[in-house]
Amino acid sequence: MSEEFREEMEKLREEIARLKEQIRSLSEKEEMKRKHGIYIDIGNRVRDYVEDIMECVAEGIHGELEKSVLIGPRGVRIIKRREPLIEEKETEVTLSKTAEIMSALSHEHRLKILKELLSGGKYINELQEKLSEITTSTLSSHLKVLEEAGLVVQEKVRGRYLITMPGRAAYKMAIRTAKFLERGKME
């Protein structure tokens, strides 16, 4: 009799422990609902899946940032900064240089020239063929402006025009800014 009683007591204790666990879990859910509105238990597998996706997205963003800022698709730039970016001051010199670069970019023909040079160095006659709407003398004066701003360099022996590293960056920046502003207008 006592044996049966002991077994019954044991079952009851287990039942009480299970019920306590259920109550604790329910009260946790109630607490989450109170704090965050809706609580959905997605289980470990789903949670891991979402975490994996988030990790991939973060890696993608990081990779893109590195590609566009520091590491080119076919090369590596190591930039040793002497001062942190935040401390860089906008001096009169940097502003005037910025104005000079912006001024060099501020003509559709010059942007077209830069676009043509993105695919590689070109002789003036090759540029003339590609940009037939620009006369030779106008083309020369545009190239001079771009050269003075450091966006283009001319080889003195062969005579080809090449887009410089700052020229490429400035062109991309101008296009991105225009797209950004255009998108802003539409929104």
Partner: protein, 194 residues
């Protein structure tokens, strides 16, 4: 081949027409008509010259990368005497003996003054060097610091060392060192150390 076997000749010549002393798609060295030339001889063969007149050095010290070009062309007016060793054969037929008037035009009172200036430059050039295989062509240009800028070229291979710039090119393999950065490039892949 040991440098001391070379010696400065005892004659002064002048360039009879504008000459291109070296020319590749990356650079050139020119000397204009009426410039003075003192031969450098080895075993009675003319192996090079020391020129004094109007010369020009152009070198496109530019590296093309997929991210844009780096570097800039170098253009130097060569008004001081400079040395050229190698490729002398093509010049030999374009020289004639310089007259007193030719020397006077360049500010020399006599032949000996030209030769001693040439010897001084040659001694400076020899100063740092012991043995050379003497292939290709070597130029030495005195710079404003009183030192020598060197250009060594053979076919498409170029080594240029100046006070502020070092440029080494071998077809698509290029190294450019400027006071701000070093750029190494190989088949469109590049590395910048700034």
């Amino acid at each position: 081949m040991i440098w001391h076997k070379y010696q400065i000749d005892n004659i002064v010549q002048k360039v009879s027409q504008d000459l291109t002393l070296w020319h590749t798609e990356r650079g050139l060295v020119k000397i204009s008509r009426d410039s003075l030339a003192v031969p450098i001889k080895q075993n009675n063969h003319k192996k090079g010259y020391i020129f004094h007149g109007e010369g020009k050095l152009v070198l496109d010290a530019i590296i093309e990368t997929t991210e844009g070009a780096i570097g800039k062309p170098i253009e130097e007016e060569l008004k001081k005497p400079f040395l050229m060793l190698g490729d002398a054969e093509k010049i030999n037929g374009n020289l004639e003996i310089a007259s007193k008037e030719d020397l006077a035009k360049m500010g020399y009172k006599d032949k000996q003054e030209v030769i001693s200036r040439a010897q001084k430059l040659f001694a400076q050039f020899l100063g740092k060097r012991g043995i050379c295989k003497n292939r290709g062509v070597i130029f030495a240009f005195p710079n404003k610091n009183g030192k020598l800028d060197m250009l060594i070229a053979k076919g498409s291979k170029i080594v240029y060392k100046a006070a502020a710039t070092v440029f080494i090119a071998n077809n698509d393999n290029v190294i450019l060192k400027t006071p701000q950065k070093v750029i190494l490039s190989k088949h469109n892949k590049y590395f910048v150390i700034a």
